[in-house]
């Protein structure tokens, strides 16, 4: 089965549409959303509707910290993020909010685990930004492949037979064999707010038959999204970072 893994769309319609257009060419069997459909971006309603429609057709989706923040008013987000969520709440319909509220924290497909931030304590939104942060996910889960988002920069980790965790640099477009003597954790790059220096929508393809993972980037019209961010009166930093991809 070929799974398309999309994460951190963050209400960026242009980036989301660009990835969906790419998927019509690559024809995955299933789409999996790793959360953070909303927040930061100007099109939360459209993005939630689109994901909900795809879930109705068999896609999987888990919940991210921004999706959760729509329903609760705690201080878990930074100031800019909170400001956008407060703006977002007023732009979502009741069914859209309900959809976000009903999203599970984790999902599985065969021996693959999907979670927004980390497999250990998924509700704590831990950033997997190094080998030490990846280790606990391997410890708590026996999934052979763990796919997460949240960091907005793609990264790959493996855990060998002795339990040692190793980080591997990501090469875009190259199918990486997830050899079976190791377990793997992939941080998938963000669709709607990439932070690795390129204004390109990121996603990943997992082929469970060939046992290969491919990180991909798709160009999108970041200037339009940035313009919408500004027009909506959202923080300027959130517009300019889209242009720079950081």
């Amino acid at each position: 089965m070929r799974l398309a893994i999309l994460t951190d769309i963050h209400a960026n319609r242009e980036a989301f549409e660009a990835v969906l257009a790419d998927l019509t060419l690559r024809k995955p069997d299933r789409i999996v959303f790793l959360g953070d459909l909303v927040g930061y971006g100007p099109d939360p309603g459209w993005c939630v509707d689109k994901v909900a429609a795809l879930v109705a057709q068999g896609a999987l989706a888990v919940r991210g910290n921004h999706d959760r923040a729509v329903g609760v008013a705690d201080g878990a987000l930074n100031a800019n993020a909170r400001r956008v969520i407060d703006w977002t709440v007023n732009r979502l319909t009741a069914p859209q909010k309900l959809f976000l509220e009903d999203l599970p924290l984790t999902a599985t497909e065969g021996d693959v685990l999907f979670v927004h931030a980390s497999a250990n304590d998924p509700q704590d939104w831990i950033y997997v930004t190094g080998e030490a942060k990846a280790m606990p996910s391997f410890r708590v889960s026996d999934a052979r492949v763990i796919l997460v988002g949240h960091v907005h920069r793609p990264q790959l980790y493996s855990c060998d037979l002795a339990g040692r965790v190793m980080g591997h640099p990501v090469v875009q477009g190259q199918a990486v064999p997830l050899i079976r003597s190791r377990r793997w954790l992939a941080v998938v790059g963000s669709v709607g707010q990439p932070r690795d220096g390129a204004a390109l929508a990121g996603y990943a393809m997992l082929d469970t038959d060939k046992n290969e993972l491919t990180f991909r980037r798709v160009p999108y019209d970041a200037a339009t999204t940035a313009r919408k961010v500004r027009a909506a009166g959202l923080p300027e930093a959130l517009a300019s970072r889209l242009i720079k991809g950081e």
Partner: protein, 473 residues
């Protein structure tokens, strides 16, 4: 991590083990059969020590990651693989010809045999590098030969794929290669430089030509370190009939600093197949090892050295040091076109200053009968064309060893250019198109055929219509 113990008759995933063919330090190799495959096959099974045997396991994982992704005649075809849940293995086609080890045992070999084998080995390495893999453990045992002549590279346990996770990056307990053949930078634990493979090739050619290893057979790592400053005995001092050009190739491949070696396997193949064009330097002439003070100074300079500057990875090398084949039309009426070709080549060299330029001109011979090799004035055609070709290239400022001239003779110029491009492993072909004429439309132009059939990029230079009119006027 209990593994099934391999034995004759064992069945796993449809494969049945036959006779054990080889038993090495890290693995055993078995003959296997499968009801669905008729190809003769072998199964390689890592020998896992009791408990956790890190180095063997990681080496095997590297093979499992890299081998199934390789294609072509210079690598064994993978037929199946199994992980450590029951018994780790890789099944590949069986290469019946035996390894270069058999050949090397008879060294010193006749020189034409050395040169032939060296070129074939370099071909295999060039093909591997093209597929983003640096072997890093090249030795005679790892070159098998197909019945059709191609060398096949085996044993990828220490290899590095440019675009895949390097599982060995942090594995410091792993032996980093085979001592007689490893490059100085491998001793320094750099595993990202394709020129390490060219060093090992140099060591093997040295061995085939002289019957000796350039640095003996070190047993300890500290002895391997000596090659950072000590130069090998020049091959010609061991065997006088070795030509200077061959010694030049060998010693260039064995340079300590990778920047002074060949920069790609293709460049090495070029020299091995064009001996007359090898520029012989001090390296080719020398008949004794460097003197005490030279070596002492080098040793001092190497104190505390950590590496040799930026490695050349397989991802970049084709772009960085390409072989540029330029087919020049020397006909007098084509002067404007060949001038335009000249300026295009100059521009190309601005982008790729490391390029090697191979200039060719084709003498079109008659299909039947005896060819005229001298013109009406009695000048030897071949020689006069060579002079003209050199004249055309006047102003292309490259060191002699990166600018070569070849005159080809063929009834069919397009075939001559295409064959030569294959032979020199050209990365890019540049030529002029003569323009439009009725005959060309019916018979097809040389450039059109080259564009259609070449295996590399082709740039065709044309004169704009305006320019031609101006010419005619």
């Amino acid at each position: 991590m209990q593994q099934i113990k391999p034995q004759p008759g064992l069945e796993i995933d449809g494969f049945t083990l036959g006779e054990q063919l080889h038993k090495g330090g890290f693995a055993t190799v078995w003959e296997v059969t499968h009801p669905l495959y008729r190809t003769p096959m072998v199964m390689k099974i890592p020998t896992i020590l009791d408990g956790y045997d890190g180095p063997t396991i990681v080496g095997f994982e590297v093979e499992q990651m890299i081998m199934p992704r390789l294609t072509g005649p210079h690598v064994p075809r993978v037929m199946g693989e199994g992980d450590f849940s029951r018994m780790a293995y890789i099944v590949t086609e069986r290469i019946p010809g035996g390894s270069m080890h058999q050949l090397v045992k008879r060294a010193p070999l006749p020189l034409d045999e050395v040169i032939e084998a060296a070129a074939r080995m370099a071909q295999a390495v060039a093909d591997l590098h093209r597929q983003h893999v640096i072997h890093l453990d090249l030795k005679p045992d790892n070159f098998l030969q197909r019945e059709t002549g191609e060398m096949v590279l085996v044993d990828y346990g220490l290899s590095r794929h440019d675009e895949l996770p390097d599982l060995l990056a942090e594995e410091f307990t792993i032996p980093m290669g085979t001592f007689p053949y490893i490059a100085p930078e491998q001793y320094l634990r750099q595993r990202g430089d394709l020129r390490s493979d060219l060093y090992a090739l140099g060591a093997m050619i040295y061995q085939m030509a002289t019957g000796k290893l350039p640095f003996g057979e070190p047993e300890k790592l500290s002895q391997v370190r000596e090659r950072l400053w000590r130069d090998p005995v020049p091959p010609r001092a061991l065997r006088t009939e070795i030509p200077e050009w061959l010694q030049e190739i060998i010693l260039r491949a064995l340079e300590v600093d990778p920047a002074r070696r060949y920069q790609s396997a293709a460049q090495m193949i070029f020299d091995l197949t064009h001996p007359r064009q090898v520029k012989i330097t001090e390296r080719g002439h020398k008949l004794a090892q460097d003197g005490f003070w030279t070596v002492w100074k080098r040793k001092r300079a190497m104190k505390g050295v950590k590496g040799f500057g930026a490695p050349v990875s397989t991802a970049a090398h084709g772009d960085r040091a390409p072989i540029l084949l330029v087919a020049v039309d020397l006909a007098p009426e084509m002067e404007a076109l060949s001038a335009a070709l000249f300026s295009s080549v100059k521009r190309m060299l601005v982008i790729t200053p490391e390029a090697r330029v191979a200039c060719v001109n084709v003498i079109k011979t008659a299909r039947l009968g005896i060819d005229q090799t001298t013109d009406d004035d009695g000048n030897h055609l071949h020689v006069s064309r060579l002079v003209a070709l050199r004249g055309w290239a006047e102003g292309i400022e490259l060191p002699d060893d990166r600018l070569t001239y070849t005159i080809l003779e063929n009834t069919d110029p397009a075939s001559a250019i295409l064959d030569h491009a294959e032979a020199v492993q050209a990365d890019h072909l540049m030529m002029g198109a003569r323009g439009h004429s009725t005959t060309r439309r019916f018979l097809g132009s040389v450039s059109a055929r080259v564009v259609a059939e070449a295996h590399c990029s082709v740039t065709v230079i044309r004169l704009k219509d305006g320019a031609r009119t101006a010419d005619a006027a």
